[in-house]
Amino acid sequence: MKKTNAGKKYAIFFCQQIDKNQDVNRRSIEKEFGPQIRFFPIPCSGRIEPLHLMRAIESGADKVYVVTCPEGACRYREGNIRARKRLLYTQNLIEEIGLERGMLELIRLKAGNNYTVDKLTRELLG
């Protein structure tokens, strides 16, 4: 993690379909970053609600990522599209109350790649 990110808190919501072994794969990150990163696996990214995102910010996250599967690959057909809509909606909400839109970010994975949560997280934190 870059120095500039030190001390920042992250919340990462991700669709569990993207990494079947997420519970094991994310451990190296959990170990390294401790309470700085919180993972919230969800059964489908479409399950994300504005309330989830607001609560994550409320509980101190400086940056919230929502990771969805590639378009067209959702197991429940349109979950990832819904996730995007809800994220946009929440971005507008937080902007209205004076927070930066950028605190919420949608990461849509590219089709045809195999992702693991740990690699993905390291990429995100750059």
Partner: protein, 465 residues
């Protein structure tokens, strides 16, 4: 009639929302705005009472739903689906399955025995304990008052060495002095954990629950602290550090000390007994191919209680291919052949995950059973083993309130006690001491298979053996 053993239970809610088997996936987009939405018809008011647990971001939609599928079936636009919760599937491992964990959670919460309304859905047979069936022939003839009524089924066992005969002098005076015995009302003691996060709450919860259920908890010598002082009557001190470090005063106050097996273990036993003759000594060792021989040697030399341990999955040392129940059967039979069985007490531990496992180990020849992981699961452990990797515990077990933990353990043990009574009632056995080693009242899948198929020239069907 003896006073009935009864464990007081009280509902003790979990601190974290439990991980449930299935989740709801419901879309709002595409909603037809029916005059009466199916969500309003939920008998359990799951949608109306929806809330979010922000600590875990768990939606009450998932945790409160009772899986009746009414909303799923009735939504005209099929906007509601139920899916298996991947978090549930990730609980535990192959041995400590999500079903076992969930079952323990439920029992710890309310103290009731698990009931699966739709009958038994499990496989016909499986590895380990599942390859053994107990004879439930008496289940068709419930005793007149039922097992919880006037009928008394005793689950009491004695821990210690037993005399095989009494000796008298020429004047008819008794000269043999009986060795000390400790009686527990349930053949279950609490063992040290193979892993757990730090914090003293866990040990204190074990001890408080041991006191409430009138049994014992094994505590590592190094873990003993002054605030456990009041629990000394319920402690089995595992002297795995240095037994010589124990003060004489401590040795005199303890009822049971457990020693790791070693070449001079009998000499240490003698040394301790000189200080406190009322002390019962356990000798603990890991199951292995040589366990029968070692157990017989110890029994011959005067061992009182032998504590045989397996790993979390019920397996002995690496080279030992036998599951705990099979290894204990072998040790039990070996001791009988050597004419030593009734002199010593055998305790088995490792891989005991359900009440039926207690009954099964007793039938295979253990006098009592030591339980470990289920006690931690009772306090919401998810068997994720993050604590072994130094990652923080997802259910914050380091900081539990020990009284809360003890209450959950008590509920679980009460559930197990009741299930033990069910098994014994169904077998027509009223005294657990008589159930020990009653292998004729059980069937073992591997043996049946051999018996039936070997004559036909067919090799074993399971495990490809």
């Amino acid at each position: 009639m003896a006073h009935k053993y009864h464990i007081l239970t009280s509902p003790t809610p979990a601190r974290f929302k439990p991980i449930t088997k299935a989740g709801i996936i419901a879309w709002e987009e595409g909603c037809l705005k029916c005059a009466r939405c199916v969500k309003k018809d939920c008998v359990y008011k799951v949608y109306e009472k929806r809330s979010l647990d922000s600590r875990q971001m768990l939606d009450s939609l998932d945790t409160a739903c009772m899986d009746c599928f009414r909303c799923v079936q009735n939504c005209p636009n099929r906007l509601i689906q139920k899916s298996i919760n991947p978090l549930y599937k990730a609980l535990g491992d192959n041995y400590w399955t999500p079903e076992i964990i969930e079952n323990i959670w439920n029992q710890a919460e309310n103290g009731r025995v698990p009931v699966s309304g739709g009958g038994y859905h499990g496989p016909f047979s499986g590895p380990g304990f599942d390859a053994m069936w107990t004879d439930m022939s008496e289940i068709v003839r419930p005793t007149r008052d039922g097992i919880h009524g006037r009928e008394y089924i005793s689950t009491t066992v004695d821990l210690g060495r037993k005399l095989m005969s009494l000796e008298f002098d020429s004047g008819g005076k008794l000269i043999s002095s009986p060795p000390p015995l400790v009686e527990i009302p349930l053949p279950v003691i609490f063992d040290v954990l193979p892993w757990s996060p730090g914090g003293k709450g866990i040990n204190l919860a074990f001890l408080e629950a041991a006191r409430n259920t009138r049994t014992f908890a094994v505590i590592h010598q190094a873990d003993f602290m002054t605030d456990m002082d009041e629990y000394v009557p319920n402690i089995i001190l595992f002297a795995d550090d240095d037994v010589l470090k124990l003060s004489k005063e401590m040795i005199r106050r303890l009822k049971i000390i457990e020693l790791p097996d070693s070449g001079n273990v009998m000499a240490i036993q003698e040394h301790l007994k000189k200080i406190n003759p009322a002390l019962v000594i356990f000798i603990r060792f890991r199951l292995s191919r040589n366990a029968s021989v070692r157990a017989a040697a110890l029994a011959k030399e005067g061992a009182e209680v032998i504590h045989l341990t397996a790993n979390e999955n019920g397996m002995g040392k690496a080279e030992d291919p036998l599951f705990i129940k099979d290894r204990i059967r072998q040790i039990h039979s070996h001791l009988i052949e050597a004419g030593l069985r009734d002199e010593v007490t055998l305790i088995g531990s490792g891989g005991v995950a359900m009440a039926e496992h207690v009954a099964k180990l007793v039938i295979c020849g253990a006098d009592a059973v030591a339980v470990d992981i289920p006690l931690l699961v009772a306090m919401e452990c998810r068997v994720c083993r993050r604590c072994t990797e130094g990652i923080s515990c997802p259910v914050d077990l380091e900081n539990i309130d020990y009284a809360w933990g003890a209450s959950r353990i008590r509920n679980l043990i009460s559930g197990w006690h009741n299930q033990l009574l069910e098994v014994m009632g169904a077998m027509g056995i009223r005294e657990i001491r008589r159930m020990r080693g009653e292998m004729g009242r059980a069937m073992f899948f591997e043996e049946l298979e051999k018996e039936i198929f070997s004559g036909m020239g067919i090799k074993g069907l399971i495990n490809g053996k």
